[in-house]
Structure formats: C-alpha cells, structure tokens
C-alpha cells in the first residue's frame, strides 16, 4: 500500500510528498524499513526498492511482518539531479532529527524520522557521489558497532567500515535513528547518477537473507552471503590527487593491489604530458576509485583497505 509519510505545500500548485510502499502480511509486528534517495544524485537504491517491492509482491504469502520501502526521501532532488534539497542548497542528511515546527526541511526530516522510528531494522542505502565508485560496504560508527555488526554481516556486502564518530555526523538520519533505539545500517555502493545492477543484486540477496534471519520471510532458503571484511579507520589508506588534471585509472577496481603499483595517471590534455603518476601507498583492497576524471589537488582518487590490518574478523 502506498502511503504518504510526510508532506509540505510548495510554492505553486504542488505538494511535496515523501511516500513509502508499505508491504504487509501475516500477524507479526516486525517491521523493517528500506530508505534511500536522501541525496538526489544517488540512484543505486532505486533499483533495490523496485526489485525488493517486486519480489515481495510476488512472494507475499511468505511475508510475516511489514517491509516499508521509502525510495525517495528527497524527491525534488532526484527529480532535478540535485544532491541536496533544491532551493535550500542543504544536505538533507544534515537536517535530522529535524523539528516539529521548523522550516520545511526540518519538518520533513522530523516527520520521516517519526515514521521510521520503531522499525526493527532500518537500512539506509546510499550510492557514492558522482566522483567515486565504491564496492558494496556498510559504514558503522564505533559506538554502535557492537549492536550493528551482527546485522551488517547478514547483508552480503564486501566490507564493513567501522569509523570514528564525528560531531557533524550527529545530524544524519542514521545517527538520529540509532540514538532513538532504531537500529540503522548505512550502505554505500556503486557510483552517483548510475545503477550498478551487479551490486544491487548483491545487496538484494543480503536483504532477503536479513528478512529470513529476522523471520519476516518464512519458507524461504537463505541466499548464500559473503563474509565481509570488518575494518577500523586505521586500516584504510587514502589516496588524494597530488595535482590538478584529468585522472585516467589504470588499476582494477575492487581487487587487491600491491604497494607502489600504479593506480592511474593525472594527465594534462593541453600539454599532452603526464602530470603525476598516482601509486598505491600500501598493499590492499582497492575499494574506492575515482570515477569522475577532472581533479584538483586534493581530490580523492582512491581508498585502500590495507592487507593484514583489516579483515582479521573475517
């Protein structure tokens, strides 16, 4: 059933509506929420929402509980290829928990939060932005790691990144929900403005596995899921562009690379010269790689999960 979770009147003859597909069957009170589309340029979650909704509709008799699917927390952003909230230049994932009687973004954030609260699990699906490609991964802050890692392992991702919590991240949906007792996992995968079906299918299997494990899906075999590498901040190496230019990748994304091997070149098409050769500062899994070629000094080129430091809990 399609329901409206939050709404506000726009300027001219239109309402902003945040909608969800609430799929329910059986007697169980268990509820899982799948949310995505907070950033209007992140579209990987669109396919997950479609595929999960289709699967559940076709297998409704096996469902015992509620699956709420929110495909677009920021519909105006998705409609206009705008990462933030159009008109406000505001990152929606910095507006939570919102307020009951604040500005439109604050009110919408509050209503969304109240609607999701009480779910047994919430999965907040993000793609990367348009600049970077990411392997399917879950990001968890240190204070919530003990509670969330067991669920993260069910979701068929390659990597679970347990990161230090930063004050500025207290305004995110995941932080607000976790603080209110609703367990929330943040998924990052793929690249902005695109759908990577391979990754979507991978996460889809993970979500089915989670539903089976939570006994929201019955009479269903658990799909086989991969065991993720679980890693702390210190195990991640960052590679930033040393100069401005056009980045041309050479390394194979998602694979192990050796220290000193070439990740790619920053070239200058005007002078037809290589400006900088970018090499791996350590050996490990190349889990983030620059997708958008134009770079400044400092633009993130890659992230590498160091070998022998991550993955000990695999």
């Amino acid at each position: 059933m399609i329901k409206t979770s939050a709404q506000a009147m726009l300027s001219v003859n239109e309402k902003l509506k945040i909608q969800k597909n609430s799929i329910k069957n059986g007697n169980s009170k268990k509820r899982i929420s799948i949310v995505t589309g907070t950033h209007g340029d992140e579209l990987e979650g669109q396919y997950i929402c479609y595929a999960l909704g289709k699967y559940l509709n076709e297998n409704i008799s096996r469902l015992n509980g509620t699956v709420d699917i929110y495909p677009a927390l920021n519909p105006l952003g998705i409609d206009s290829i705008t990462r933030g909230i159009p008109n406000y230049d505001l990152d929606m994932n910095r507006t939570f928990p919102g307020t009951e009687s604040g500005t439109m973004p604050e009110m919408i954030a509050h209503e969304i939060l109240e609607d999701i609260k009480g779910s047994d699990i919430c999965i907040d699906i993000h793609a990367s932005n348009i600049f970077l490609r990411e392997i399917p991964q879950i990001r968890i802050s240190v204070p919530t790691a003990e509670m969330l890692v067991p669920y993260a392992k069910m979701l068929n991702v390659d990597f679970v990144w347990v990161h230090e919590s930063a004050t500025v991240l207290e305004s995110t949906l995941a932080h607000s929900l976790n603080s209110s007792g609703t367990k929330t996992l943040v998924v990052e995968m793929g690249v902005g403005m695109r759908i990577t079906k391979e990754y979507c299918s991978q996460l889809m299997n993970g979500i089915i596995n989670l539903l089976v494990n939570l006994e929201i899906l019955k009479d269903t075999d658990s799909p086989s899921v991969r065991e993720p590498v679980i890693s702390l901040d210190g195990a991640v190496g960052f590679v930033n562009s040393p100069s401005a230019g056009i980045f041309v990748p050479e390394a194979s994304f998602g694979n192990i690379i050796e220290e000193g091997s070439i990740i790619g070149n920053v070239v200058n098409p005007l002078t037809a010269k290589i400006t900088e050769q970018v090499t791996a500062p350590c050996s490990g899994l190349l889990f983030t790689l620059r997708e958008y070629p134009v770079v400044y000094g400092g633009s993130l080129i890659a992230r590498i999960l160091r070998q022998n430091e991550g993955g000990s809990e695999k």
Binding site: A8, M9, L10, S11, V12, N13, L16, R83, G84, N87, Y88, D89, L90, R94, S101, G102, T103, M104, E106, M107, N129, F131, T167, V168, L169, E170, S171, F238, N240, S243, A244, G245, I246, N268, L270, V294, Y296, G297, G298, S299, L300
Partner: protein, 311 residues
Amino acid sequence: MIEKTIFTVESIYRELLDIKAFCFGDTSRKTLCIMGAMRGNEVQQMYVCSRLVEELKKLEIHGAIAKDKGIMIIPCANYYSMNIGKRFWAMDNTDINRMFPGYNLGETTQRIADGIFSEIQGYEYGIQLASFYQPGRFLTHVKHMVTEFTSDDGLSDFGLPYAVRRTPRPYDTTTLNYNWQLWNTKAYSLFTQSTDDLREKAAEEAVQSVLRFMKNRGIISYPVHSGYITSIIDESDMIPVYSPCGGICRITVKTGDIVEKGQPVAEILNPLTCEIISEITAPEKSVVFFHIASPLIVEGTVIFKLIRNKI
C-alpha cells in the same frame, strides 16, 4: 599595506586561485583578522572587506594604526566560484565554511580551509563577514557562538543595535567561527543586510561597526561615531514566524519596524489567482529583525524573525 598570497589552488584549465590577504600595521602581530567571502555569492561580504582595505590604507598612511597591532583582511577566498556564478566550490559543491579546521592531506576544500586556517589562527580577534542560507533581509548584527571558550566580551564594541548569541548545533562545529574559538581567537560573525547584491548603506554600516570595534579595542585611533548601546539577545529567544502554506509572499513591513500584536505583516497569495490564502500577523509586540526576500515560499518557510519588544 602588504599584499600577500596565503594559499594557492591549481586548476587544469584556469589561472591559479590565489587567496589574497592585505596586512596593515605591525605584520608580526596577530591582533585582528577579517575574513570575507568564502562562498561564490557573498558579494556584499567581499565588498565590505574591500571597503575596509580602502579605509585601513588611509588610516595607515595617517599613522592611525596602533604601533603594536597587526590586522589582516582576506576579502575573498573563493573567486573561482564567484567567477562562474556558483555558491559553493566549483567542482564538488562543497562549502569551505563547513571544512574547518581543514586537513592538508584531505579533499580540495579541506586543503583550502587548512591553508586559510594555518594563516589566520592565533589572532586575538577574528571577524567573519557571514551570510545566511535563506534569501532575506536582516538588521545588520554581530553574532557569536556560545561555547565554553567565549564570553560576550567585545560584542558591544561594534556599536550595532543588536548582537546575537547562538548555541552551536552539530553542523556548526566545522565552521570558521567555531574553530577560531576553539583555537582561542575571540570570533565574531558580522551579518550585513544582503549577500548577492550590493547594499551601500548596509555595507557602510558594517564598515563603520568594524572600525568602531577596532577603535574600542585600541587597534586604531579613528573619530568614529560611538554607535548604539547594543542589546545582546539569544537566538533562541527570537520569535520565528513560519508560513502556514506555500505561495507568493507579500511582505508589508520592513526590518527595524516595531510591530504591534495582531498587526498584519505579510500576506500569502495563491500564485495562480492572487487570492489571499493566509494573512500573517505579529504574534506580539516586537521588532522585525529578519524577513524573507524571495517572493515564492513553501510551507514552513521562516518568513520573519522578531525580537520581543520588552518596553
């Protein structure tokens, strides 16, 4: 005056972005730093700084800067965005004023923030010409964040009618003002009445308030009008007036007006029929501190911020 480049950013097809600073007085002393535009639409903020450069040049020539004081002004840290009509960083739309204290090995705007901050930290006083994310008109005012490191000391020295105390929220912790305070600089954000467009009178008011601050703090000797007796108010004590619906907003009062309880202050019109959908009235006797300037508004827009008139 000494002109210097404090940080440089390289682009593949553009000239270097040189962040310029103008230094006055004893340049070995870090007394006052004034930061202008960090966003591409902060034209008024850049203009106020350039006016201050003009004034301080004259004062320096006339020996009106105290001998043991040093002043640095950075009118514009982001003309890359200004030159192409973008508000945030040209490439990735990130906000330099959400990147402090910066990181010299991080992303581009983190490096810019780090490059700026390494130059401007350690000053006794810091003034940032700030802008608000919503298009609107303010009374010119000075604001500071209430932290364990600050007091109201200095707020009244600007001689503006109002100074505002703000309790920081999580997203404030990466702003320049907050980080200046963290590193022991007494930091003030000066809000002038516009951002994208030049307002001469408001710019002059801002320039005079900064000169007054400098005079009151013994940085310059300058025959400036002593200004107002400042009312210091908490941001949380202001009365926000929200729009109950979307439509065209017709404001019928001006900033600085004293309005009575129940007085009509705005109308929301149906944009297709011009029918009045909602009449907005003042909830109590108050001073109009802020009003929205955009004609089109959505439900929940802050149309006004009012200051209770306690008299």
